[in-house]
């Protein structure tokens, strides 16, 4: 690989890599530790929490966000960000229900179609970042607005109907296990393998860590960014399919807020907004933790207003508590955008 690195520096880099891996393991252990602790506390203190029905509900309710957050993990790890996923999810919900209109035989072609659409959107994002060096934050904020405008120009009220099969996947259980949850676990497994065990994943982390160095080391940075944006979009579309099944109808505003929740989940789970560090396991843990918190607050009849306040406070506390060691931010790193979180 990088024959230019001096042996001493190479050894130091290896040690740093191992340290990072240990830190990452600790952080995702941290979020899962919080999750297990919280779940046990809730089981004891909150009546109605520890039933199979309720726990299954939490998993089902969290599945869509989980898929979106998985996609977001990749794009943040690559040193980018994607704010458009919420509206892309909304567009998916509307198109899926409107085009299939409840007819089961159309489910597969429509699903493939929206996934293809997601890939196109992701590709457009990557092209604009690669060719025109636009900041991903501002680019995806612009495309969020375009997508939202497109959705509402098409319809201002619910349209269509989700096919029965999709509703089954999104809501029902098989042998007591929520199907949507199983889907999430399988996807997470694939994502983890992709990130940690493939050349693409390693290159993605290298790109996010330091785009210039990665490029000099021969990593095809432009192609990696393309992969990251496409994965982010696919996560949004997959989440959208689940939400379509959940709602049963194409509600245009269905995606509102998903992008921020996905980012929060990724960051809480140990993915650094500066890029180069990610944890699939941590993301899933954070998504479930957020779901448990919302469920517990509902069961405790805490007012929704307080729930918003609590969520904000938790996010802030978690960030302060898991303060990352000061990473070197290169000034003018124009091709590794969003160096500052």
């Amino acid at each position: 690989m990088a024959a230019a690195a001096a042996p001493g520096r190479h050894g130091a880099a290896l040690a740093a890599h191992r340290r990072h891996a240990a830190l990452r393991a600790a952080r995702s252990a941290g979020i899962w530790g919080l999750l297990v602790l919280g779940t046990m506390l809730a089981a004891v203190l909150v009546p109605g929490f520890a039933t199979a029905t309720n726990l299954g509900n939490v998993v089902t309710q969290s599945a869509a966000l989980g898929l979106v957050a998985l996609g977001q993990t990749f794009v943040i790890a690559a040193g980018l960000i994607d704010l458009s996923v919420g509206q892309l999810l909304g567009l998916t919900v509307v198109l899926t229900c409107a085009l299939s209109d409840g007819r089961g035989e159309l489910l597969l072609p429509v699903a493939l179609g929206v996934l293809a659409l997601g890939a196109v959107v992701g590709s457009l994002h990557a092209w604009l970042v690669n060719k025109l060096a636009i900041e991903p934050l501002i680019l995806t904020f612009g495309s969020l607005s375009i997508l939202q405008g497109a959705i509402f120009s098409y319809t201002d009220r619910s349209v269509g109907r989700a096919p029965e099969a999709l509703r089954w996947i999104a809501n029902e259980r098989l042998l007591g296990w929520p199907v949507a949850g199983a889907l999430l676990v399988l996807t997470a497994l694939g994502a983890h393998l992709l990130l940690r065990r493939t050349r693409f994943g390693l290159r993605l982390l290298a790109t996010g860590d330091d785009g210039e160095s990665a490029r000099r080391a021969g990593v095809p940075v432009a192609r990696i960014r393309w992969g990251a944006f496409v994965l982010s979009a696919l996560g949004a579309v997959a989440g959208g399919l689940l939400v379509a099944g959940r709602l049963g109808t194409g509600y245009p505003n269905a995606g509102q807020g998903f992008e921020l929740d996905a980012i929060v989940a990724a960051v809480l789970g140990g993915t650094s907004l500066a890029g180069g560090r990610a944890s699939i396991v941590g993301t899933i843990g954070a998504v479930l933790l957020l779901g448990v918190i919302a469920n517990v607050l509902n069961l405790l009849e805490v007012s929704a207003f307080v729930q918003t306040l609590a969520k904000g406070a938790i996010v802030v506390a978690a960030i302060i508590a898991t303060r990352a060691p000061r990473s070197q931010v290169r000034p003018g790193a124009a091709h590794a955008p969003v160096a500052d979180a």
């Binding site: 109605g48 039933t51 029905t53 309720n54 509900n57 309710q61 869509a64 198109l95 409107a98 085009l99 209109d101 457009l124 604009l128 060719k131 025109l132 375009i146 405008g149 497109a150 120009s153 098409y154 319809t155 201002d156 009220r157 619910s158 349209v159 269509g160 509703r167 809501n171 939400v243 959940r246 709602l247 049963g248 109808t249 509600y251 505003n253 269905a254 509102q256 807020g257 919302a294 469920n295 509902n298 069961l299 009849e301 007012s303 929704a304 207003f305 918003t308």
Partner: protein, 358 residues
């Protein structure tokens, strides 16, 4: 020297995506029609309450689609008040979906998990929550739609509602009289797709058929949001040089409309349709001596609670209980307006302990 891609292709591409995409796929949903005769029969249908009958103590679950709206805040207070009058009601649990239909589905599931005795709700999107409501009914929990419209579907046991068509018709008829039967107008309606929006527009169109001198320029959706109604009105004022009147049955939105006209200097000759008893609107009516109101009683919450308790007792109830609206002429507005209370307020019989904070 790098190749610079043509910016024109990009602009053209993205606009084409937006425009082309939206025109290629014309919305498939047909606009809902209102068949009044059929609806009246459905409202009168008796509910089979035997399967819901159970003994107390009861817990009332309220699945609010949103709470950031003064009407629903007052409606909820009516629920709490009615609940406090019954010894066998031990608790009222409220969830707020904050305009997120996915969350309202989750909220209903959580209420079921908490074993509530009944669920009172007002929807963000009526269709999206039906499957969740059906789950509640399968568990023997009756569901009651409180407020804006009549839902006739398996997920809704009964409705305590204001007949939006009758309300819209009353508003439109007084509006025609005040207009003198001719002029250019636009309509300011609630959230698109809700029964309220559909019925109010249908009533307006039916009344307009008898008044060919009045032209409807546009039907807009202000979502019961004063600021949004104001912004939409500002847009329309720019687009249309002549607007004689506005059909706006919701007083909250009427406030946004009149402010836009006032700031554009075009309010003097404006004819406003009656609004409802929203306090801000009533204050305006008292000051300007025009407009009037057709009421949209917040005690729908109280009636919904009473309906629910009757169902739990196994007593007969209809599918739809109408809470009648009444017309308030501008001259009588002073009796209903509370000048020292905020705009975001509704006249009611709530005792002091249950009124929201001012």
């Amino acid at each position: 020297m790098r190749n610079h891609p043509s910016r024109r292709t990009f602009v053209g591409g993205s606009l084409a995506f937006a425009f082309g995409g939206s025109s290629l796929l014309a919305p498939l949903a047909a606009h809902a029609q209102v068949d009044r005769a059929a609806q009246k029969k459905q409202m009168a249908e008796p509910v089979d309450t035997a399967k819901f009958k159970k003994a107390g103590p009861y817990t009332i679950g309220v699945a609010a689609g949103y709470m950031s709206n003064s009407w629903v805040v007052f409606c909820l207070q009516h629920v709490r008040w009615e609940a406090s009058l019954h010894k066998d009601v031990k608790d009222v649990i409220v969830t707020d979906a904050a305009f997120n239909p996915g969350k309202q589905v989750a909220d209903i599931e959580d209420l079921i998990a908490k074993n509530v005795s009944m669920i009172i709700y007002w929807p963000v999107d009526e269709k999206a929550i039906q499957p969740a409501l059906e789950k509640a009914i399968a568990k023997g929990i009756p569901t009651i739609n409180a407020g804006g419209g009549f839902t006739y579907s398996p997920g809704t046991t009964s409705n305590a509602f204001i007949d939006q068509y009758v309300l819209g018709e009353m508003v439109a008829q007084h509006f025609m009289t005040d207009l003198g039967g001719k002029g250019k107008v636009f309509a300011m309606l609630p959230i698109a797709g809700t029964t309220a929006a559909v019925d109010q527009l249908a009533a307006l169109n039916d009344v307009l058929k008898k008044h060919p001198g009045v032209e409807l320029l546009s039907a807009e959706h202000g979502d019961w949001n004063r600021a949004k109604a104001k912004q939409i009105s500002e847009n329309l004022l720019q687009r249309y040089p002549k607007i004689d009147g506005v059909y706006s049955p919701a007083g909250q939105m009427s406030m946004g409309v009149v402010e836009a006209f006032e700031e554009a200097g075009r309010a003097k000759s404006l004819v406003m349709s009656p609004g409802d008893e929203y306090n801000g609107w009533m204050k305006w009516v008292v000051k300007n001596k025009k407009g009037g109101a057709v009421t949209f009683p917040t005690r729908a919450g109280q009636e919904a609670t009473k309906l629910g308790l009757k169902i739990l007792a196994g007593q007969p109830v209809p599918r739809g209980l109408v809470i009648p609206s009444q017309y308030i002429a501008p001259a009588e507005a002073a009796k209903y307006a509370e000048m020292d209370k905020p705009d975001d307020w509704w006249a009611s019989n709530l005792p002091a302990g249950f009124k929201p904070k001012a």
